[in-house]
């Protein structure tokens, strides 16, 4: 919200935001009923891709997948303009539950399925690599996941303990609710215990804060990293699209489409699923800041 907020306009912005929230809530409720009716009338039209599809595809779950889903929805609209894709950002857990209890056509999860989450199948559509960034003047080149964990929970507070110059470590992170923060904290296993010196609301803001402070460390989506900051290697592995893809870079997580095993996807949902996992979607996924797995 890069906007000047005065006392009065602040109040009106809240009003607008709330109205939008109310609308989203309505959309969510409507889409789940649409989803169940769509699921009921599915099966037959499967392979007839020439016929224009219509209807709704109810997706929901991981908040981190917002950008990817938005990009895919936009790309899909060019192929099937009459299909609407609904997206309810409720969290990965809710996305998997939605697929399990059939309220969603496609559940979205930004973590792999657990062993006890049965009856559903996960399909990885993209990978999310999170780069660990430090100031260009920092001498630190490599950190392990364990060191990161200790640094972000305040066990290690001085750069000299991890091979840098003497100086207090300044932790720069994202605001609560951000997908990148959630991703980083869950991968490094520091959820809800980070001692941030700064919480910023955008990837760009994190990067410029790290750029400005030689003692800062932060995290940002792989795609957003430019020349202004230094991405450290994690456990000796550089953060790049290749290392994320082959799994050697540790700070990454999958973006998963979760589908129910006992339900056949509706024609439109299947079309969206196929589109998202096709090579056509690779560039869209890349523009959304994630690493595509199918090319």
């Amino acid at each position: 919200m890069m906007k000047k907020i005065t006392r009065r306009s602040f109040l009106s912005i809240c009003g607008v935001a709330a109205a939008a929230a109310a609308l989203t809530a309505c959309g969510g409720a409507a889409s789940s009923t649409a989803a169940s009716s769509a699921a009921a009338s599915s099966t037959a039209a499967s392979a007839s891709s020439t016929a224009a599809l219509s209807g709704n595809v109810a997706t929901g779950g991981s908040t981190s997948m917002k950008n990817v889903i938005a990009a895919l929805t936009e790309g899909f609209a060019e192929i099937e303009p009459d299909v609407t894709i609904s997206y309810d950002p409720t969290g990965s857990g809710a996305g998997i539950t939605g697929a399990t209890d059939k309220t969603l056509d496609i559940g979205l999860s930004s973590r792999a399925l657990k062993a006890d989450e049965t009856g559903v199948t996960g399909t990885i559509v993209a990978l999310d690599g999170i780069a660990i960034i430090v100031n260009k003047d920092s001498k630190v080149e490599d950190l392990t996941v364990d060191q990161l964990k200790q640094m972000f929970t305040g066990e290690i507070t001085n750069w000299s303990e991890v091979g840098g110059d003497d100086g207090e470590i300044v932790l720069v992170g994202r605001e609560a609710g951000s997908g990148t923060r959630d991703g980083f904290e869950s991968i490094v296993d520091v959820k809800d215990s980070c001692k941030y010196a700064q919480e910023l609301t955008a990837t760009g803001a994190v990067i410029s804060a790290v750029e400005a402070n030689p003692l800062a460390i932060g995290y940002a989506s792989l795609s957003a990293i430019g020349d202004t900051v230094k991405a450290v290697t994690v456990g000796g592995v550089e953060c790049s699209e290749e290392t994320v893809k082959d799994g050697s870079y540790e700070v990454q997580r999958p973006f998963v489409f979760v589908t129910n095993d006992s339900v056949t996807l509706s024609a439109q949902a299947q079309a969206f699923f196929d589109f998202a996992t096709s090579t056509d979607a690779a560039d869209l996924i890349r523009t959304a800041g994630a690493v595509p797995v199918n090319e």
């Binding site: 009106s12 809240c14 700064q198 609301t201």
Partner: protein, 298 residues
């Protein structure tokens, strides 16, 4: 009761239509205020009820996305109050002395330059203040005080104190200019120096106007979000030190609104309600100050 008559001539019609338009425009503002007020209370109260008013207002921990969420906004309330008070501590003396200078002491040429500068200052968007604060002030604070990070309460106070200067200066200048010259001439005739006259006669005589300027400045400081967000660090800490990374009421909302859902979102509306009440109180105070001033002059 006045009998209603249809307008007869075109001129009367035009008059009637224009009156209706003026009335509608007037109602629009009133309606907006009413709708916003009702909306704030409707959307802000449920979460306070769910969390519990005491836990909400006096809870010292805010962890809205934790597995066991905590919604205590005391750190935000205190940060906002400290930030605003701190900004007033710097901004009020500087603003008041600037106003005295502009109204009484400055040569016309100098006055024009300073007045123009103060007016320009009030026109600078808050995001620009934030940007400068982020790039210049935050590293400077870190360097001067030997801290690792300069994004803290102190930086926010400095930025806010500059932002509230224009309102304090311009309102105070108007008030000081309105002091009847006879008061000051009388004081000078009794042998008081210029400085004595300004501090003992002019400022007391203009006090209600000056107070209005200060309240206006405080209102601006407490409602500012963008500039604060860029320099204050935004961690939900208790403001127990000037060098602590803190979150204000405004930035708590702005920061989390984009991804919030469920109770977290409702709680953000409750924060907005608290802020709304704060600002209403300040406005009531402003009105009281202005009315009190008018009585004095009669």
């Amino acid at each position: 009761m006045k009998k209603f008559e249809l307008p007869r001539t075109p001129a009367q019609w035009l008059e009637a239509v224009m009156n209706a338009i003026f009335f509608l425009c007037g109602i629009l503002a009133v309606g907006c205020v009413a709708v916003i007020t009702i909306y704030m209370f409707l959307s802000g109260l449920p979460a306070i009820g769910k969390i519990g008013p005491l836990k909400f207002l006096f809870g010292t921990e805010w962890a809205s996305t934790a597995s066991e969420p905590k919604y205590g906004i005391l750190p935000f309330v205190l940060s906002s109050i400290y930030g605003t008070l701190g900004a007033s501590l710097i901004g009020v003396p500087v603003g008041l002395l600037t106003a005295v200078f502009l109204s009484k002491a400055a040569a016309p040429g100098v006055r024009n330059v300073v007045v123009t500068a103060v007016e320009l200052l009030s026109g600078i968007p808050s995001v620009v203040f934030g940007l400068l604060g982020m790039q210049v002030l935050v590293p400077a604070v870190a360097k001067v005080f030997g801290k690792a990070s300069g994004a803290c309460l102190l930086s926010a106070i400095v930025v806010l104190s500059i932002m509230i200067l224009p309102s304090i200066v311009s309102v105070s200048v108007t008030a000081l200019n309105a002091v009847p010259p006879e008061y000051e001439q009388g004081s000078l005739a009794l042998g008081a120096t210029d400085t004595e006259t300004w501090f003992k006669i002019s400022i007391p005589a203009a006090r209600s106007g000056i107070a209005a300027g200060i309240v206006l400045g405080i209102g601006r400081a407490i409602g500012e979000a963008m500039a604060v967000m860029m320099v204050a660090g935004n961690s939900p800490n208790m403001p127990d030190s000037l060098f602590r990374s803190v979150t204000f009421l405004t930035t708590a909302i702005a920061k989390e609104m984009s991804y919030a859902s469920g109770l977290q979102k409702q709680a953000l509306f409750s924060i907005a309600l608290v802020l709304f009440v704060f600002i209403m109180v300040i406005n009531v105070l402003l009105n009281a100050v202005l009315k009190g001033g008018n009585k004095d002059e009669k």
